[in-house]
């Protein structure tokens, strides 16, 4: 499917298949087309060309209110003029469910997101994390076949985000429905998703399991964006292996101090808690290595050796 805005190709020939019950992440920098793809699935935008199917049924020409797909918005989009309970029960009210039944269902959903008894409050009286949960409850109360999440954790602070990651994961398993979520945080995508699609400039660069994406990036962009891989230029790789291609090397795969390693100079070091991050220079090329914090770190300027397993050097394509 494609979506063009004038000359801007927000989503350009994206071909994507998500399995039932899958936890799927759309990962990419801002403006890469991941949110537009989500909006195409939800039905807020219509594809310029191409085809969307939801569980085998054609979704073109079907407005969002007729798709059994619900969305958790980045800004939560809670209705400010309704209580939390009415917010959660909104979808059921539209479907014509009676007041008593829908309030019971809303309370159940609030319990599921661990906000029991919050129904009477206005959304403005809730914290960011609580609003996020209400938005989640409002979506799942309708028992959608697919739940779409647009940067669901973007506005939360670090600790809350980690907690919500786990909750989302267990919620998905409990509900056993498809989750598709958009994020620019590779850590989030890797830790939560069953499969990840990496977006850049309106195209999918790679689809695969988190391990695939992390260990075997297929292109420079993916290696760069997912994690903090060392991207090695063809000339340098040719010196090492004899073939001139792009390659990536994970910082944690570099060992320092092996006798038969490449001679290197330490140019920087920084302490990041669990790890020490060391900047190395090998034949004029800068590499980053991470070593556990309890390993002694050579001083800046020291000459050391660096080495890695041949398998750790991952050869890949050259695209941007």
């Amino acid at each position: 499917m494609s979506r063009h805005y004038g000359d801007v190709r927000a989503v350009d020939s994206v071909d994507l298949e998500v399995g039932e019950g899958e936890f799927f992440a759309l990962l990419g920098p801002s403006g890469s087309g991941k949110t537009t793809s989500l909006r195409l699935i939800a039905g807020f935008d219509q594809p310029t060309s191409g085809h969307i199917e939801i569980f085998g049924e054609t979704a073109e020409g079907v407005p969002p209110y007729r798709r059994n797909v619900n969305t958790v918005f980045q800004d939560y989009a809670l209705f400010p003029h309704m209580s939390v309970r009415d917010n959660v029960a909104y979808g059921l009210m539209i479907r014509g469910m009676g007041r008593k039944d829908r309030y019971l269902a809303a309370e159940d959903a609030l319990e599921m997101v661990r906000l029991p008894g919050y129904g009477d409050r206005p959304p403005s009286a809730l914290s960011g994390g609580q609003r996020q949960r209400v938005a989640l409850a409002r979506a799942i109360v309708n028992k959608p076949r697919v739940l779409l999440l647009d940067e669901p954790l973007g506005a939360l602070d670090l600790k809350l985000r980690e907690q919500m990651q786990e909750e989302l994961k267990s919620l998905q398993q409990a509900l056993d429905i498809t989750f598709i979520f958009v994020t620019h945080d590779q850590g989030e995508a890797l830790s939560m998703a069953d499969r990840v699609a990496v977006f850049n400039q309106g195209r999918i660069r790679q689809i695969g399991s988190p391990e695939d994406i992390y260990q075997r990036p297929r292109s420079r962009f993916v290696a760069d964006f997912v994690g903090s891989s060392n991207v090695l230029e063809p000339s340098f790789v040719k010196d090492l292996t004899g073939t001139g291609t792009w390659a990536s090397l994970r910082p944690e795969a570099i060992r320092i101090g092996d006798e038969d390693g490449h001679p290197a100079t330490v140019v920087s070091r920084s302490y990041t808690g669990a790890m020490n991050r060391i900047g190395l220079e090998i034949r004029g090329v800068r590499l980053t290595a991470t070593v556990p914090a309890d390993v002694p770190v050579p001083a800046v300027g020291a000459s050391v050796t660096a080495s890695w397993d041949a398998a750790a050097l991952h050869v890949m394509g050259a695209d941007a």
Binding site: G43, G56, T58, G61, P63, R66, N68, K143, D176
Partner: protein
Amino acid sequence: MTVLAPAILPPGGGVLARLSDLFWRRPSVLLAVLLGPPVLWLGVIYLGSLLALLAQSFFSIDEFSGLIQYEWTLKTYGELLHPANLDIILRTVLMAATVTLAAAVIAFPIAYYAARYARGRWKALFYLGIMLPLWSSYLVKVYAWKLILAKEGILNWIFAKLHMTWLLDAVLGIPVIGGNSLSVSYIGTFLVFLYVWLPFMILPVQAALERVPVSLLEASADQGGGPRQTFRHVTFPLALPGVIAGSIFTFSLTLGDYIIPQIVGSSRLFIGQAVYAHQGTAGNIPLAAAFTVVPIVIMGFYLWGAKRMGAFDAL
């Protein structure tokens, strides 16, 4: 879940549901439905009338029969250049300029105080204190000044009580702007214009001043700028777009008004009165239409200049 709900729900019945689907599939249809009525009303009825009026300014009137001759001519615009008509235009523009300047001077302290010092309840009070006079009846305001400026009215009474009648007489003795009494002099007309349009100046100036960050003023003070210098080099230039935005109102409103000079002032005409007179008893629609082009052109240039100075952001 044992029974799976369908992924796509069937279309709803009823006209509204189908209409809603249509609006979603074709947003341009929705846009047309939304824009249709207002564009028909404003674009066809209003703009149409306006263009018809402008077209008539290119016709002329036969001096003997008094009938309109439907032939394209610039003759009517030539009539605008008669000394009597030029006088009217010049008089109106001068009045508009004077009123605008005076309004800016009086508005500034009020706006400055409201933007910088008034808070909480006082702020609301200040805001209403400007909004209520702005919105209260135009005619009542003019009427109030007729009461004030009357010979037996409060202003004369105050001057008499203060034993300063001589001062008032001296002011009224000034040629051109003076007159027999305040209510038949240009001074009177000026005062009423100033009063009626003043709130239109205060609001945009206040809005502009509220956007001046305190840190800028502190930076200026930090650089050794005294209060006066800070005002001259920082506050005033930043408030200027607001002043210009306000002046658009005061200038335009003065140019087009015909009721105030009719009720308070000398018998010499302003543009608005000339338009009214020519379209009414004289039946000279072409000349009236040509006269209306004058404020339109003046305001066109004015707006163009104001836009270049960034005044529209302060509206």
